[in-house]
Amino acid sequence: MKKRLAALLLCITMAAGLLAGCGKGNTGSQDTGGSGSVDAEGKKQGGELTAMCVGTESDTYLPAYKAIVDEFNKTNEYGVTVNMGFYENEQYKTKLTTLMASNAVPDIFFTWELAYLEPFVSGGKVTDITSYLEGDQEWKNSFSGGTLDLLSYDDKIYAIPTQKSLCVMFYNKKIFKDNNIAVPTTYEDFLKACDTLKTAGVIPMAMCGTDAWIPAQFVQQISNGIAGMDLYNGISEGTRKWNDAAHVEAAGELQKMVDAGYFQNGYIGMSPEESTALFTSGKAAMYFMGAWDSSKVSEALKEDGGAFILPAKNPEYNNVSVGSVDTCFAVSANCKNKDAAVAFLKFWTSQVNEEKLLYDQGRMPAGNFEIDSSKLNSLFAEVVNLSKQQKGLTPWWDRAFGAGEGVEFNNTCVAVCGGEEPQKAFDSLQQFAEDNADR
């Protein structure tokens, strides 16, 4: 519970950190590529480090990731070669679990924060990297305030974030203009916009139903707009229940949108890539997704790509969004060359690389360096701007609660999409949460 409290605290500080990060001039370059500040006795021992990351061929930032790996391989003082494999999200989760149980985890692995990493930490499979961070305060301080707390267990840090993310509503500016729609500032406006688009024969929103977390993050966003941070905090601390009125109401809103036909036909059977393609090909007007898809959107829609935060149903909770750190990396406990692995993490989170990912790919950095807005394309700038405006961020439920309640929350949202009565669906989620406690 303490951890979850920390999590929510960090969310607030994180948003603050984003704001502050832009005001402060932190010009210290941290290109650790060849600096060797890691460890004075770092020897040239060579060898290979295996690494695993989430990503598919449709992720436009994949080449940039690979470029970072290549660069590290060329320049690192340990003479090691990092060999990074990429896997699709669902497959990655299965694979990592299997590898964990069999003690064959790659040296460096992608992870999510909070409850996802927790069992592996308590199983002793992850290297405690606190000492590395303490030994290099500059590195430690380069992370936005609170972000490392999401990856700390018993006050020890087990992974570092490379990005921050939040959910935004991407939209197609051209479609909005053609239909005389302004970016909605109230929830009612938003529904009205959907209605107008629907009448005009445009798919208002692209949605995917096969990956349950996608409708779920939308429900979470709506419920944030109904009950604010209190809801997240309450459920995390156990003072509010899963079948909270706000959840039921939010799910009801989703169902109304489904019934009104605001999502494409057959969305429930479409893979994420298929639904994304509807938006990037200009067939759908909006698309609710983590900001990590910015590069995909801007590559496809160019100047027509825009983003806004879904207006809260209860206006006092505007700008409480689903968001957290993203693309975190950890070092496995049985890694033979931990110094080199940590050096790799340090290299990845160096300002040079974070800037590269930000300016070229729109990946919001976990570091708190000053962002040069002039180097951002219009969409990236909008997204960065939006993130600065957030008053609070709530991590995705399936990251906060992991494979039990978290995943079941996602499934519950899909059930609601499929027509199940929201109250009933969330009652059974609550029941599940109570039953699941001792499985």
Partner: protein, 293 residues
């Protein structure tokens, strides 16, 4: 003679390699699985003995009971889809009909194709955008029925059963034909002389004589339906919202995604018990007197 065929050492050489392999990698794991099902373990931290709690939890777990229901539905569906259809084809092809061998070969073909490939193929057929089924409905003027078949929680399981039928009808047909071939032709000749119709011959000779095989076949269908995994894993992954969840997919999920290996083992034990029960049950239902030709 006894010296050659009764030599203990020779027997051991012939039997032990296979038997040891089988015992260590098939029988022992089953016992170990039962043992594991009484524990809570993620295989990283020490296991905790919980007695029957995993089983009690299982039956309070809405998803598991759903998977169980789906499995039972699948068994029923497969029985209904397979037995009569296989019997129909079998009966047609068993009689002297031109191209009999060709048809048998073709009908059997799908069951040698790997389940993943079959699943992918049919997910293309059911695809809402370019799928053959939707296009076909459009052509015959039933465009209003077009939909994302595998995403419809009421239809998805049914769609999967159709694929199972497509894949295995030929298999069960061949089993039945093989049984029919064992029936002495003289019986039919005699019946023909008596002027019995083809239908009469079927009900009076074929059906009663292949009944024991139908029993075996039913067992195969039931245990087979309890074991489906790859088709569902590829086509729906158990979704939407567990609508096609089977015990096998749920077991995989609980074990290899959420690290509840003990809980997952308990599902394995229940699957095992169901397989054994279905064999015993069909022995009862299809109890038939010894057959004499």
């Amino acid at each position: 003679m006894k010296k050659v065929f009764g030599n203990k050492i020779n027997i051991a050489v012939f039997v032990l390699p296979a038997f040891l392999l089988y015992a260590v990698f098939a029988l022992v794991p089953i016992g170990y699985n039962v043992y594991l099902s009484f524990f809570q373990t993620d295989m990283m931290s020490p296991a905790k003995f919980v007695g029957l709690k995993n089983y009690i939890n299982l039956f309070n777990d809405g998803t598991f009971t759903r998977a169980l229901r789906n499995n039972i539905f699948m068994v029923m569906g497969s029985l209904i889809a397979h037995l009569p259809l296989a019997l129909l084809f079998g009966n047609i092809l068993f009689q002297k009909i031109k191209g009999s061998h060709f048809f048998q070969t073709v009908f059997f073909l799908p069951c040698v194709i790997c389940g993943v490939a079959v699943g992918l193929t049919w997910s293309f057929v059911y695809n809402s955008e370019f799928g053959l089924l939707n296009k076909l409905l459009e052509i015959i003027g039933l465009g209003s029925l077009k939909q994302a078949w595998l995403a419809n929680k009421n239809l998805a399981l049914f769609c999967v059963i159709i694929v199972v039928m497509w894949q295995f009808v030929g298999y069960h047909m061949i089993i039945q034909i093989a049984a029919m071939k064992n029936i002495p032709g003289s019986l039919y000749e005699a019946a023909g002389l008596d002027g019995a119709s083809k239908w009469k011959q079927f009900t009076a000779i074929t059906f009663p004589l292949i009944k024991p095989i139908l029993k075996v076949d039913a067992v195969l269908i039931i245990t087979g339906s309890l074991k489906y995994y790859d088709l569902v894993a590829v086509m729906t992954g158990g979704g939407p919202n567990h609508a096609t969840e089977l015990m096998s997919t749920y077991m995989f999920y609980q074990g290899f995604r959420t690290l509840k290996y003990g809980y997952s083992s308990a599902i394995g034990v229940i699957l095992l018990l169901l397989c054994i029960c279905s064999v015993l049950l069909s022995n009862l239902v299809f109890r038939s007197e010894a057959v004499e030709y």
